[in-house]
Symmetry: C3
């Protein structure tokens, strides 16, 4: 499919500079674009790369557009505009409907007529599948689960019973939603008595969940993922966690039981958050942080120390274990000096 | 199903206070319980919530029960008693038997008559499946594996060949047991020569393994998970690791090759434990710790520094790299002051 | 299968000492070997265990072989030689061919005659499968993917569309290759606009990928895993990452978007690497490190502080947050002392 610059400006509510009839057939990064492709610059530091790009059109803010001679799609949010243009070029919109003969669907399940169910899908009793849902090969949908309009499950996703997924949500392969929370009561003989996890998982609409992410069902009640939340790959979400709408969490982060994350939070990758905490709205937590206390105010929070050359690290890390001692010595020295000064001894 | 307070007291070897005929039909948390439900308070700090709870019965220790006027199930381990009552209400005990026509079972496999095998299960040659085993949709059971009585595999679990799983153990979806250990010998041309991993994984009885946990087969011999061990989601256990009975490990922890964890250890989430270490019995390791040396005595061990406001963190983290230098300066200052004192100079 | 010592020496280009006719039927570790088995010592510190081993033959360097009386396979790389002998004993080399009747293969896919496709495999349109490929039960191969000669997919692997896998590469169960990269443009209402990920994943030859590892497709272009790379379990590789040939990465490490890892790097387990970094060739990063800046020179890099007894840790970790203050105090004290000295006051 091809679009003219003029047409793309119209579709994205943008202005343009240069040849509006210029024909475009795809998108590419600034460095890899060739003729007929559209690219973008969002960060002014890449401005210097503009001259050498072979892209036929570049999406720029009006400020950056001023200095550039070539064809420009002008929009003050070039990144979002680029995202929309990628959708214009590549999003599939045809609604097909098919139920593979090798799927296994319980008689008590209710399926809309316009759904796509691939081979080896297993749908258990009393499941409800709404219009436009796509379920990839090998997915398992547990008893009583509800998949609202246009939900898309990539292949090999597992939903335990009673999972609810809101409209337009996407779940990537290998993810497991609704597995038992990790709850045991200790017994005198050191063995652990399993606490049956009788809650479920409720996922809002417009949520995306990456590959091999796990979300445990609640012990009692529900683990809740709010509308518009985006979760990356290999995230672990324990039972009874609640994540507020529009929060976004990068890969390999794990959140322990009953913690509540506010709205519109941004949490980096490989973060570990302890259980039973409250994280306020609009909190940003940088990658690899370790969160052990509730965070009550919006802001940026961090922990961790980055790599250094191994020999230096060995010395510094050894000193970490003397930190308390060092601090006390400093106080002692300070006091000594002060005493002398006071005493006019020096 | 409903139970009277009297009957629940009997079934859990507890006392009761109040109306023994009070009829109960489920459990709920203190805040969410409504009439007909039973809840519990284990931690005295939640005592103040008792007054406002709508639960018909509350499980309390005898100490807490004294001050409470409503119906009480009295037991000095309220948490364990609650766990048992959840089982009484919700545990399914019927033993069904069925082998789905869409399962693929090698002729050489030996299956007890009372087993449940779901659709799309593949059972390879010489597998042995004992009485009461349930295998969820899409599981793969490799050649020569043995599943003892009442083992339960949730959907989409993968067992490589020669895996052994003890009685009553549960494995959640997405977990992979018996994948090759990570072993290569370096070659002169920088390439890596794969060391075939010819061992296996042996899992004890009453073990529970969470979703998307991976346990590698041994290079030689066996990777061993002891009886009664509980593993959460997304744990990575490398080849030749041994975990002692009743140890419990929270989500996203990883244990490198050949490390041995003692009995009844409690290991938090997102912990990283190096290879070839020995961890003693009854060791507690808090979440996100980094364990680089063997731990020879029972006790609580920790590492890591928690989040702080980003600007402060930047300053402190930068200083970490000067720690060794700081320590040396402190020593120098100390010496100077001491010398002066000795010399009576001040 | 049995081999004589003489024959194994011949096959591995080694010398031998002792009874060349000694017959061997398997390998074992030094401590567990019994008669008829061959073992090895690579690290001189295990030399003392030689005397008590019941192995019939031991692989030793010429230096270690001097002091040992028993049968020896002499090679100056005992570890690599051991690896090769494991292959000699245990590697299956028969090439079978079969396509299970319960696999679902699109008509437009091109399959070589000599391939193994297990039950419940789904192969989408336009896939190309070359000679000697083995695909385990429940794998999904997305549209347009290419599996070159002798690729082996263990059960329950998911390949999204357009994935390319080089000859002789192995992927373990639960891994997901080609899932969408994590890319969204923020919108004014706090919602996130999904950036379609239109790139793919290209995996070189002789690569091994562990269980439950995830590799995202590129936003634009390709995520690239070089020839001979070895990835352990539960690794997360974000979109547009590039990993140079022969690099090796241990379990649970995660690499954020667009980072490029050089050739022959060795990265420990549970490492977190930020996005958009460049890591030079031959860099070694120890386990649990946090990499926040590009590394421009070969060498060993580390971060993190290991566990200590919980009470001590509490004190030291609390001091970490005073580090900047401590450093300033030290400087102040230093200045004071210097001033006095200069002033001849003391």
């Amino acid at each position: 499919m091809t679009f003219t610059l003029e047409r793309l400006a119209e579709l994205t509510n943008s202005e343009f500079k240069g040849d509006g009839k210029c024909s475009l057939d795809g998108v590419a990064s600034l460095g890899e674009a060739s003729e007929g492709e559209i690219s973008f610059v969002s960060n002014p530091k890449y401005k210097k790369l503009l001259a050498s790009s072979k892209a036929s059109v570049i999406i720029l803010s009006s400020a950056l557009a001023e200095d550039y001679i070539g064809n420009v799609l002008v929009n003050d949010d070039p990144y979002l505009t680029f995202a929309k243009i990628v959708s214009i070029f590549y999003e599939k919109t045809e609604l097909t409907s098919s139920i593979h003969t090798r799927s296994t669907i319980d008689k008590s399940a209710t399926l809309n007529k316009r759904v796509n169910i691939a081979a080896n899908v297993v749908i258990d009793s009393d499941v409800i599948i709404e219009e436009g849902v796509t379920i990839g090969a090998g997915c398992f949908i547990g008893e009583g689960s509800i998949l609202k309009k246009n939900v898309q499950l990539h292949p090999n996703v597992t939903l335990y019973k009673d999972t609810q997924i809101g409209a337009n949500s996407i779940i990537h392969s290998g993810s497991v939603i609704g597995s038992d929370g990790f709850g045991y009561a200790p017994q005198k003989d050191k063995s652990w008595y399993k606490i049956l996890q009788i809650g479920n998982v409720i996922i809002g609409s417009d949520v995306e969940i990456g590959a091999s992410t796990t979300i445990d069902r609640a012990a009692l009640g529900s683990t809740i993922i709010g509308n518009g939340v985006k979760l990356d790959n290999q995230i672990q979400i324990a039972h009874n966690v609640k994540i507020g709408e529009y929060s976004i969490i990068a890969g390999a982060t794990n959140i322990a039981g009953s913690t509540e994350i506010g709205k519109a939070c941004q949490i980096g990758g490989a973060v570990a958050i302890s259980g039973h905490l409250q994280i306020a709205d609009h909190v940003i937590i940088t990658g690899r942080s370790m969160v052990m206390k509730s965070i009550k105010e919006a802001g940026v929070y961090s922990s961790g120390v980055a790599t250094e050359e191994n020999k230096k690290w060995r010395r510094n890390a050894a000193r970490f274990r003397q930190l308390d001692e060092m601090a006390k010595t400093i106080k002692r020295l300070e006091r000594k000096l002060e005493e002398r000064e006071k005493g006019g001894l020096s």
